[in-house]
């Protein structure tokens, strides 16, 4: 029988992260947003709780959970702080997961315990200034020279790439030409800091202020030949696999944003009085919030479904795309409605809904735009 209820352990995890988000993350969220600072102390505590190791086996310092456990944590963190949630999402899905999926035993032993503990962060350098969704248009190059890869080029919008605890940047680079004369793209592990590697100054973003995002430049950066991650020439294909599951994680994070907007709106509608009664007693407000709750619930169902399919090994590409599309829409719609419910206060940066409003837009863009999701869904329908 179809059952979307959480198991006792999943519910305990959800509750634990919910409490952590309320007690530790929420009180400093506005501060880090306003000052655009990375929340090192929050990340350290997330590491102690094992959140960065959630989906990895214990032999690599992980928690022995699965990808769905990670999604539950992302939703709960995302309810109060999207920046903190994306830091975890990128740290796990983009930092550690490629090493776990495609690394050699030595590479896993070297990197995973550090990344699982949250003491170090890994970043994935794929996007370049000239190509976002067209990831195959990579221009960064890596050439073998005396047993070393020599990397040159630049990357754009790379999460977790310039913190004090960033220790690894996995980079996709052109390593040659394939027999069909298309580019051969491979992934290479770059331990940082490295000579010739620069994390340029942070972007001035609309939202996700406490998340660390930089352009990166590589100027004759040299790493050992054995730092190749996975099979040479499979760099882009590997990344597509990572992206499919990453969409489920972004969907969980978006669901958190959508739910966070409901949380704040319910609180405000009960407490804010106009014309002698709480505004929540007006149907214009109550119905809006009811619709927001429905959107958040539907969003949750889509990521539960996509994650369930993935974990039993069924095809999940279409379902992940649907989850990403539906839940990022829900986040943006709820953020807009929540801001409207808050009136003038909703336009003040220190209110959580204003932060959600600024943070939500990127959810329709990152890890595949909404248009890319529609393209994937249409393709699955044979269009």
């Amino acid at each position: 029988m179809l059952d979307t209820r959480l198991s006792e352990e999943q519910e305990q995890l959800r509750k634990t992260v919910e409490a952590f988000a309320r007690e530790v993350v929420a009180p400093v969220a506005a501060h880090h947003d306003a000052t655009k600072t990375f929340p090192y102390d929050v990340v350290r505590q997330m590491g102690q709780m094992g959140l960065f190791g959630l989906p990895f086996p214990e032999q690599y310092g992980g928690m022995g959970g699965d990808y769905f456990a990670l999604c539950l944590a992302l939703e709960e963190l995302g309810r109060v702080d999207q920046s903190v949630a994306i830091t975890l999402e990128a740290g796990v899905s983009l930092g550690a997961m490629p090493v776990f999926r495609f690394g050699t035993e030595e590479q896993k032993q070297e990197w995973l315990p550090m990344l699982c503990s949250g003491e170090a962060l890994g970043a994935f350098g794929l996007t370049e200034a000239g190509g976002g969704s067209d990831a195959g248009a990579t221009r960064t190059t890596a050439k073998l020279d005396g047993g070393q890869w020599v990397i040159n080029g630049s990357k754009a919008f790379i999460t977790n790439s310039g913190t004090d605890i960033t220790k690894l940047v996995t980079v996709t680079a052109v390593t040659g030409e394939r027999s069909d004369s298309r580019k051969e793209i491979s992934s290479i592990l770059v331990p940082v800091p490295a000579k010739g590697f620069t994390a340029e100054p942070s972007y001035n973003k609309v939202g996700w202020h406490a998340s660390d995002t930089h352009p990166l430049s590589f100027d004759d950066v040299r790493v050992p030949e054995e730092n190749l991650l996975g099979v040479r020439g499979r760099g882009y294909a590997n990344f597509l696999h990572i992206l499919d599951e990453g969409r489920i994680a972004i969907s969980a994070l978006s669901t958190g944003a959508a739910q966070g907007c409901v949380d704040e709106s319910v609180k405000y509608a009960k407490q804010r009085e106009a014309f002698g009664k709480p505004i929540g007693q007006n149907q214009a407000i109550a119905f809006k919030i009811a619709e927001m709750e429905a959107r958040a619930h539907v969003a949750r169902c889509t990521y539960y479904d996509a994650a369930a399919r993935m974990l039993v090994g069924q095809p999940f590409k279409k379902h992940a795309a649907i989850a990403k599309l539906v839940s990022s829409n829900a986040a943006m719609d709820n953020a807009r409605d929540a801001t409207q419910i808050h009136g003038g206060y909703g336009f003040m940066n220190e209110y959580p809904v204003a932060r959600h409003y600024r943070d939500s837009k990127i959810l329709e863009i990152g890890e595949g735009t909404s248009e890319v999701q529609k393209m994937l869904i249409a393709r699955e329908l044979g269009l």
Partner: protein
């Protein structure tokens, strides 16, 4: 801290008393019929200070290089298993759950009798409890248990060290702290200042499933049924009324002496 017992014994047994209480933030009500707390209609959580007690036990175990075992002891209905699981997921080793219809409505004196009976069945060097529960707020359990077991009581600890066969605490007072020590075994209560309880990890949550949990009835623990429960309670709630609605505050008008008036008010409330 030096390792416990300096080689005389290899391992220290710590029992932590944990109580499930209605969520501190929820509205709590007494039932009209038997005037006991309505536990069914509200969310329940682990009594907050008990989390500090569990954390302190885990810290003592870590300080002893892992040479200790931490047992959770709870008296409460079936649902209290959720709270026991949380303590186990934080890292406690095993748990004993005293659960019996006959215990419902027991007051503090009866509860201490029942818990002391269970303690008799366990080997322990230290019993740690929180200094009070947020529901009944009696703050007497450590004292009652010390009396019943004949063990020394160290209450209100904000710091604990175990050294050899002794336990030493800093007892929080209004003006500072007292240093108090006692030979083991001893009964200890802790205050919130003592530590910062950890959040359970997912590994801890998964491991909690397979940790030993013993459920005892009153008969199992040798508790005489006619000494416990609401009908036999030495203290009875005769009457209760709801808290009166909040009164309007006092407004101090500043006529040049506002500061002094505020200070007088604070002094009259014994705040300064």
């Amino acid at each position: 801290m030096q390792s416990a017992y300096g080689g005389r014994r290899t391992s220290m047994n710590i029992v932590v008393l944990v109580k499930q209480v209605p969520d501190t933030w929820a509205e709590r009500k007494l039932k009209a019929d038997d005037k006991t707390l309505d536990r069914a209609s509200v969310d329940v959580v682990m009594n907050e200070i008990d989390e500090y007690a569990v954390e302190e036990a885990l810290k003592l175990k870590e300080a002893a290089g892992g040479e200790a075992s931490v047992t959770i002891l709870t008296m409460g209905p079936d649902r209290a298993v959720e709270t026991i699981r949380k303590a186990l997921s934080m890292g406690a080793d095993k748990a004993v759950h005293l659960s019996d219809e006959a215990l419902a409505g027991s007051d503090a004196i009866q509860t201490s009798y029942a818990i002391a009976k269970v303690l008799d069945t366990l080997e322990y060097d230290l019993v740690i409890c929180g200094s009070e529960a947020t529901d009944s707020r009696m703050s007497v359990m450590a004292a009652l248990l010390a009396e019943r077991t004949g063990k020394p009581q160290l209450s209100g600890a904000r710091k604990v060290t175990v050294d050899g066969g002794n336990v030493k605490i800093e007892r929080q007072t209004d003006n500072g702290y007292d240093v108090v020590e006692a030979p083991l075994p001893a009964i200890l209560s802790v205050v919130e200042k003592i530590n910062e309880p950890r959040y359970p990890s997912f590994k801890g949550i998964m491991a909690a499933k397979s940790k030993p949990l013993t459920t005892l009835t009153t008969a199992d623990a040798g508790i005489e049924a006619d000494k416990v429960g609401l009908a036999n309670a030495p203290s009875q709630v005769v009457e209760f009324s709801n808290k009166p609605p909040r009164q309007a505050g006092q407004i101090v008008k500043d006529e040049g002496d506002g500061g002094a008036k505020v200070a007088d008010f604070l002094a009259s409330q014994k705040i300064i």
